[in-house]
């Protein structure tokens, strides 16, 4: 399958939820899917998985800064030559995402990282321990957020 076919297939999978999603093609090899409701995330991933498009390459979180109330989380699936990005928005405060571990066990480390670095709760994660940050790291401080203040650490 070349990139074109993969993306067509992917859009057909995604379009079964089309009452809640919009898709765009920023470049010929990429398909961006805006997932508007969190409940749909797991079913879409299952759908991709069933069609063997479910190789999760990375989870990226974008924090626009404290003025914005929301952060954007990108799930990058990279089957073959194509890139499928599921874009989900979560609130900055008390945001939560469903865990993909049931579908993709390898997602666990990405989700733990997401939780540690950005403070996004992952519901259904089995081991929510620290993965990267030191043991004596202060609670509720998320280093990858734009408004992270390193002075918190020196006070510690």
């Amino acid at each position: 399958m070349n990139a074109e076919e993969i993306l067509t297939l992917a859009s057909s999978i995604v379009s079964s939820w089309d009452w809640a999603t919009e898709t765009s093609r920023p470049n010929p090899k990429q398909l961006d899917v805006k997932v508007n409701s969190l409940q749909e995330l797991v079913p879409i991933v299952v759908g991709l998985r069933v069609k063997r498009l479910g190789y999760l390459s990375a989870i990226v979180c974008l924090d626009p800064g404290p003025e914005s109330k929301e952060m954007e989380v990108l799930y990058h699936f990279c089957p073959g030559d194509a890139v499928i990005a599921l874009r989900v928005r979560v609130p900055r405060e008390n945001g939560a995402l469903p865990s993909l571990c049931e579908v993709i066990p390898g997602a666990e480390v990405f989700e733990r990282e997401l939780h540690e670095m950005f403070g996004v709760e992952i519901t259904g994660l089995h081991t929510p321990d620290r993965l990267y940050l030191p043991d004596d790291w202060p609670a509720n401080v998320y280093p990858m957020r734009k408004d992270f203040d390193p002075n918190v650490l020196s006070a510690n």
Binding site: S57, A58, C78, G106, T127, M144, N151
Partner: protein, 399 residues
């Protein structure tokens, strides 16, 4: 007397300071006698916070920062970054530059795989093989040093091209080196597949089926040893891989031996590729002009590091530094498989299973850096101080 011990006695911590791991990363294995019953991973000993640091530095500085994510695959990190930023800036490096990038990347793969053969032989307690493979690895280290000037952090890439060229003399040296290494690689393949004692430690150990590999998201040679055809160089050719196509080395067995065989077979592919590139190196400029500011946009770049797919996501907001830079390194994907595979195996097999994925914890743990403007300037001051100090020092010497 402490006779009332629980049946499940020991938790053996492997790492962060542990001879099996030259890099920090902490695994905890609960063992019952010699059998592993539970595995747990804790990273973060090498977490420096590079992703955050990258947001604080400009595009050029980031190149040198990212190259130091990992000392084994430094070139491929820089390549991924350069390709991604070039795509954002709509700049294309010349065909010659791309070919040289691929050439250095393949040399790096050779160095990395030889290193890995040695390290895993060492884990298995086969020190003679370790010594021999590292002796031979010095050949490719010499070539890389001759080409770029450094043994580890080559800095061959610059934004818009490469900084080192290949002349006739280097060409002969590389070809000679490849002939020697190919001979040695054949020998190692023979040893790895025929040495009975070594096979006892690799054959049928840590078998990962194709489905398991796919579910756990294994990548790189680890996945290819389980017959998962996943190689970015083939699937989504970048740089000059379109002109120099690669054939994937696959194996169906999925055990440790298969991982050895796949990696050695990849060596042969690299030798072939390097010879081909040297024979048909296109002419052209080494680098093109690159703007200081990069237009706003998002880009995903995937390249094949020696350990598997390396993923870069870069978002630019049009300024002279990136808005967000995300690196997903190959080892992080393969760690899941170690945790799952180790359970049920002997403790003695664990170092081998760990080594089997060729882990690189420095890759995984990247840094977070101060997001303070003042600190940025204080850094500049220090650098300036150092520079001045250096100048004064040498002036003093001249007197």
């Amino acid at each position: 007397m402490e006779s009332k011990r629980e049946p499940e006695r020991f938790t053996i911590a492997i790492g962060p300071q542990h001879p099996a791991l030259k890099e920090p990363g902490s695994f905890q294995f609960t063992v019952d006698g010699e059998i592993v019953t539970k595995a747990y991973v804790r990273l973060g000993y090498a977490h420096r916070g590079i992703e955050k640091a990258a947001e604080q530095r400009n595009w050029i500085q980031d190149l040198y920062l990212l190259e130091r994510i990992c000392g084994i695959c430094s070139h491929i990190h820089a390549t991924a970054y350069c390709l991604a930023v070039e795509q954002l800036a709509h700049v294309e490096a010349s065909a010659r530059a791309q070919a040289i990038r691929v050439l250095v990347a393949e040399l790096e793969r050779i160095h990395s795989h030889f290193l890995w053969i040695g390290v895993s032989a060492h884990e298995a307690g086969f020190d003679t093989l370790f010594m021999y493979s590292w002796r031979d690895r010095e050949t490719v280290m010499d070539l890389l040093e001759g080409l770029t000037g450094n043994r580890v952090n080559y800095s061959a890439n610059v934004l818009g091209g490469v900084k080192c060229d290949i002349d006739g003399e280097q060409r002969t040296a590389i070809l000679k080196g490849m002939d020697f290494l190919e001979k040695r690689a054949r020998h190692y393949l023979d040893v790895l597949t025929n040495d009975g004692m070594f096979l006892q430690r690799t054959r049928g150990i840590a078998v990962m089926s194709r489905t398991q590999a796919e579910v756990m998201g294994a990548i790189g040679p680890t996945a290819r040893a389980s017959n998962v055809a996943r190689d970015v160089r083939v699937e989504s050719p970048y740089a000059a891989y379109k002109q120099y196509p690669v054939t994937m080395a696959l194996d169906t067995r999925g055990d440790l031996e298969a991982r050895f065989v796949v990696r050695v077979n990849e060596l042969f592919e690299s030798f072939r590729l390097i010879r081909l590139i040297l024979d048909t190196l296109p002419e052209g400029e080494l680098m093109v002009r690159f703007p200081r500011r990069v237009p706003a946009g998002e880009v995903v770049m995937r390249v094949e590091a020696p350990r598997g797919e390396l993923f870069y996501f870069i978002k630019s907001n049009g300024s002279d530094r990136p808005e967000r830079l995300k690196v997903r390194t190959p080892t992080i994907c393969n760690i899941t498989s170690v945790i799952k595979l180790a359970v049920g195996h002997q403790l003695a097999d664990v170092p081998m299973i760990l080594a089997g994925i060729d882990p690189c914890f420095s890759c995984n743990d990247r840094t977070v850096q101060l997001s303070h403007a003042e600190d940025g300037s204080s850094c500049m001051m220090k650098w300036e101080d150092l520079r001045r100090h250096g100048i004064e020092h040498y002036q003093g010497l001249c007197k």
